[in-house]
Symmetry: C2
Subunit: 137 residues, 2 copies
DNA sequence: ATATTTGCAAATAATTTGCAGTCGA
DNA sequence: TCGACTGCAAATTATTTGCAAATAT
């Protein structure tokens, strides 16, 4: 996506499109491996020498609030971030630590939700070995 | 469950049954609301004046390793603990902050897992409003 | 007897907050 | 211009670790 498009995507979601916010969002879009705040920080601070962690957190929070990104709590020790905001599942490999997406329809998620409860958001997390690491063992 | 039974459950899982461990496990069994480490700490330190957080964490880790409890990362800021270790779903109410269990068969979880991946553990987390809080709004 | 467990205090690590200076509409 | 955004440093919070004393088998 061109810089210009990112600019208008952010604007149209009520987020003032600053350089920092554009680059965080761009990074997320171009690295669909569910990076953590710290991963983003380390990557972007190389490119732009001045880039504080505070800004990363602020940006991620704004993006999440606006619905442009989704945070993933598959591990208790750090949040991961995803630009796919429609419902889908996440697989965490305990060997290589990579998170991959997999399909899961909203319909299925609704079926899982118990009667009388109002489903705002659903997550399916599966932990185990990815095909690559499974083979290596 | 009687103190004696707890004692042998722990032993048979390779956990040396100390007073502290017994009371943590007993607390979890008798308070099936998925308490956090801190909730357990605050409750037990009233009963037993000397009870350190370290011990709570040590105990929860041992219990988890032995398969007697399961930790739930439905929120990024704290782990919650559950004595139901078979697969099931969790619902977090964003109003009252309570976590309730709901049924989900292992069969369904296996269906959800993508081909080629080895499923070690599956979690289904749904966030929203519980029936009580839904009504109040 | 001895290996394990406890609990204190200190260390880590992720995230949040206060606030002065800066930037974008 | 003016309110929103940035970034530093400091605060907060959950969890882990080192180690001497206590405890269970």
């Amino acid at each position: 996506m061109a810089e210009n498009d990112l600019y208008s995507v952010l604007s149209s979601h009520g987020i003032r499109p600053t350089q920092q916010r554009i680059s965080v969002y761009k990074y997320l879009l171009s690295h669909p491996v569910h990076p953590s705040a710290d991963t983003i920080y380390r990557a972007l601070s190389q490119e732009f020498p001045v880039f504080s962690r505070t800004t990363i957190y602020n940006t991620l929070n704004s993006l999440e609030k606006s619905g442009l990104v989704r945070s993933i709590n598959i591990q208790h020790d750090e949040q991961r971030f995803d630009t796919t905001t429609e419902d889908h599942g996440h697989f965490l490999c305990i060997e290589c630590n990579e998170i991959t997406d997999f399909d899961i329809t909203r319909g299925v998620l609704i079926t899982l939700c118990p009667q009388g409860y109002e489903n705002i958001r659903g997550d399916v997390f599966i932990t185990g070995f990815c095909p690559k690491c499974k083979e290596k063992r």
